[in-house]
Symmetry: D2
Subunit: 351 residues, 4 copies
Amino acid sequence: MAGSTFGERLKVTTFGESHGESVGAIVEGVTPGVELDEAYIQAQMDRRRPGQSSVTTPRKEYDKIRILSGLFEGRTTGTPLCIMLDNTDMRPSAYDDIKSMYRPGHADFTYEKKYGVRDYRGSGRASGRETAGRVAAGAVARKLLEHRSVKVLAYTTEIGGIRCGTFDPEVIESNVVRACDPAAAERMVKRIEELAAKGDSCGGIVECRISGVLAGLGEPVFDKLDAELARAMLSIGAVKGIEFGAGFQAAAMLGSEHNDQMDANGFQTNHAGGVIGGISTGADIVFRVAVKPTSSISVPQRTIGTDGNEREITTKGRHDPCICPRIVPVIEAMACLVIEDHYKRQAALLD
Amino acid sequence: MAGSTFGERLKVTTFGESHGESVGAIVEGVTPGVELDEAYIQAQMDRRRPGQSSVTTPRKEYDKIRILSGLFEGRTTGTPLCIMLDNTDMRPSAYDDIKSMYRPGHADFTYEKKYGVRDYRGSGRASGRETAGRVAAGAVARKLLEHRSVKVLAYTTEIGGIRCGTFDPEVIESNVVRACDPAAAERMVKRIEELAAKGDSCGGIVECRISGVLAGLGEPVFDKLDAELARAMLSIGAVKGIEFGAGFQAAAMLGSEHNDQMDANGFQTNHAGGVIGGISTGADIVFRVAVKPTSSISVPQRTIGTDGNEREITTKGRHDPCICPRIVPVIEAMACLVIEDHYKRQAALLD
Amino acid sequence: MAGSTFGERLKVTTFGESHGESVGAIVEGVTPGVELDEAYIQAQMDRRRPGQSSVTTPRKEYDKIRILSGLFEGRTTGTPLCIMLDNTDMRPSAYDDIKSMYRPGHADFTYEKKYGVRDYRGSGRASGRETAGRVAAGAVARKLLEHRSVKVLAYTTEIGGIRCGTFDPEVIESNVVRACDPAAAERMVKRIEELAAKGDSCGGIVECRISGVLAGLGEPVFDKLDAELARAMLSIGAVKGIEFGAGFQAAAMLGSEHNDQMDANGFQTNHAGGVIGGISTGADIVFRVAVKPTSSISVPQRTIGTDGNEREITTKGRHDPCICPRIVPVIEAMACLVIEDHYKRQAALLD
Amino acid sequence: MAGSTFGERLKVTTFGESHGESVGAIVEGVTPGVELDEAYIQAQMDRRRPGQSSVTTPRKEYDKIRILSGLFEGRTTGTPLCIMLDNTDMRPSAYDDIKSMYRPGHADFTYEKKYGVRDYRGSGRASGRETAGRVAAGAVARKLLEHRSVKVLAYTTEIGGIRCGTFDPEVIESNVVRACDPAAAERMVKRIEELAAKGDSCGGIVECRISGVLAGLGEPVFDKLDAELARAMLSIGAVKGIEFGAGFQAAAMLGSEHNDQMDANGFQTNHAGGVIGGISTGADIVFRVAVKPTSSISVPQRTIGTDGNEREITTKGRHDPCICPRIVPVIEAMACLVIEDHYKRQAALLD
């Protein structure tokens, strides 16, 4: 589908680039008559905004959204919702240094291979900024899921090898790494600051838990719910893996251990992560996403120039030392979009 | 897209169920004029066929395929290729025991939640047999990729906690677990036989390597190449996770470690697994898939009946103790379909 | 979408060719739990079958369908329905004469231009026989529409310049041209027989009326209900035009004449043909389809050979002198598929 | 696909409403490296702009477009092109009179039935203004088609019963009704002015001719080229029918008359309108579109209010007495989008 569209019954098309004028999203198939306002969406955007802390980018994007269509007298009309953000903090000159080189880990090289054009202005469509449109669209889906009593919650479980040992949903928004364990959060922040001082970066793992989901969502065989969530998450920049439930641990388990047995109260365990046979079971959907370390580091690296010659590169500009805190709301947004889309597909099947 | 269709320019629709008359696949968008015959596809089907060894199901499916359309005088016509297999080894009665219970780890419960119908005949569309259509379609894609000098190779790297220490592509088809290390293979077989004797099962990890791929494939943002491969693999039954390149290990790496630096010969490392920014780099695409242990075990388990009462269940019938060997050709098939589809999409972009 | 798939929530994929082994259809998104059997579908197939009368092809295709999947104990399971027909009356040798020439009005030339392959065996995918799969799938949709009290009725209104003057739904199936006026039908049959004796053919117009449709179906802007019906009908071979309501007559009307005014009972007129702004109004949906004269005639014609030299061609074989009677059930089938798909899409929107 | 997206390899998503802030389009799959600038697109937009003549709406929309992404140094990047227009001439109050009534011929009634919301502000998504996004996107496709030497030309052939007798492409842009016959144009303008003075409107027929098209475009069976063009045109507001080549006249022709015979120079006639078997023949593609008379007339009409009571309605506001002149560039735009999309699909097939 040419890459800018996602979903089928609840469908989002995102547009815009890092250094273009605007970024945004069009959301189609939104249930009519639902109360919605810009403030609700803005709240999700604000979670994404950099410049919040010492561990995120100082670039001041003022992500103020405007809803251009699809609302009337405070309620959705059912016609497409168009949400726009203006890019207010663009400094293309900050990238001039590297216009003739391929930054390691970035999509510079691959974009040029694909399109035959070297557009060096801050990654363009490959920029993390593109996710702003997704978060806006995801907020709309989140609103619709509220009506279904579905909750979507993502949080950091690991950064730089430091793992959360406890889980407390209340602390997630209170620490800048959005970890679920406050003690681990402190150690994570310290580690990130150390690395940032050295001009380096680190990766992490983000877990997402979706609760209250109806059993029966997902469309075997190719639109299985976990397959669709996998595509959604892998489409987010910096994501290098996903696992459901026991995930890669399942590889070392026995069938007698991994199978989720049932009793009169439902599933006794949830190694399946809430999806069996590609369809939701009614138990919490749980998955974890592997986030690679930020590619933009100021540590000198070896690369080649657009002329093919070997070079040393030191990336300047303003970059997150760890992407996890900022990716949390993006993961939630994509999860909201997938789940709401599948509720609607299920309604169509049964009608 | 309602679940039975995959791909866009090279597109496959699979049909059929475990205990229906036939299973098959329709492949559209096949390049015309390519030499192809039933024997080529049959060779891939034979790799999938159970009853090959002590570690796979004794159910004798004779997967003899027929090509109903799309070929003329030994070459593809460009019109849709329809490939059919007849189910010759159906024994629905073998399932009568469990028709009133939900087998743990199986899609019985979720299918009934979704469709409101309890069709107990060997999992129907959830059956591993559905993958026969995929392997047939994947064979067509593999033939097209041969013309592009692209090779797709999958192999077991871990079963039951036992890991391959070496990699030799030549041994993969010579051992029944399709492992890339013969010594590890022997230990894996022994482990599987032990577990089978106890009526239990184990999981594993399968790695896939795609070499010779053109740089530039993939369509950001939502049809990124890794996102599409992720969806493809997670759509295969028993798969619970996927990771690219360093994958979940990247979470613990520094940017200075994970970034693949470049020199005049290309990429110095391949932590990215051949995909950066959702686009192929030209380096081998490498990913690993987590395979859960087979759910059908004869160890007694706790479950509930369709009447909601708690029960003990012992699954009879004929089942693979470990799915990895059989999933290898399915993973290759899906990889072939994704890569060939994206070659065609790239051709469309540049035309 | 590569051409073999139609619809989104109720989705059909057809396969097979005129002289391949089988033709068929896969229908996905079928509401589970609906009573359905082969006899119901067979009844629609029988309406399509040639050899019924003096005005249709004597080729005896015995369109006996088999349902391979998607049914259990007499009801739909919600999983894909696969319907197969075997081609029992193939005589490829009847086409040997014309393998080196392009038959005027046929797709021989265009298929060779598209695919680079000259597959002369009775038109392959361009054959009217491909529509068998559509009629089978359309029967499933018709069953679902019965539950919604929607009726789809098509009938010939004009053949060879002879027009129906009256409309009586009861006579449609009683005359071999499926005209809605018995007197006109007699004259039409006579005209067709005259032309057949001369080795020529004639065209006609078929009207379709869909009643009982919910107001509100259709998805502006690109999936408007009339746009989707137009695509559906123009995809049927031999169709060269479509018009809704007053259609081309509207071009000569005034706004004060064409606008359908309303009173307490609803719409006073229906010049719009039941669709305004791309959405159903609740009034009958009415459209007419232009059917070209059969291209296969035995009157000598000028053409070129595959070698580029000018030739005279006389088509032998067994062909319908007028396609209208056989196209009636195909038009109904496509209408059923579109309407049922849009009911489901509307259910998804409102959920 | 939820209605706002069109095309597959060249894909457009339009957004915005009549009285929202902006309207626009996102075009994906654009060939990279092609020279393009805002002026080229603006030229097409200016053709669409009302306020040009005595026969079009005096509403002054200043359709100045901005390209937000997808261009770099005057060339396409291959990443999505986002084109925006600002609505500068919105006067929602002009519609206050009719907010409690359904205007005959308009989508007021059907939109309320579909969405359950009565959004009276100038038709919203049903407004002709939505087509601005299509014309912008169509301009991009036109540029790409220039590189293929394909020309797309539409013109009025009939208005209010007055028909063009001659065809001269040079005069089309010189008369305000965009007719191909200057004498007929004069009579048409006079007729329109008469009707406008009475507060009424009239319909017409627009013909479109696409020349220089490669033979072989179109994807049987459901994505046949004529089926896709039909869907494209019927998706334009006010269109009530389409016919290809001889169209509805074919219904009264004999096979010996309608078949396009061939000689060494190609097709001797073109009754097929350039498409046979759903695939382009290489001859000009010719089709005609039926345009209904404008629904907004100030002649009093009978309707019902949103309360169900019968009312008399007199529509004020500023409306085109005949839509044909303004629809010509929209028809060309949609034709460009379909043809370019199919060129790309054909490239994918053969790669």
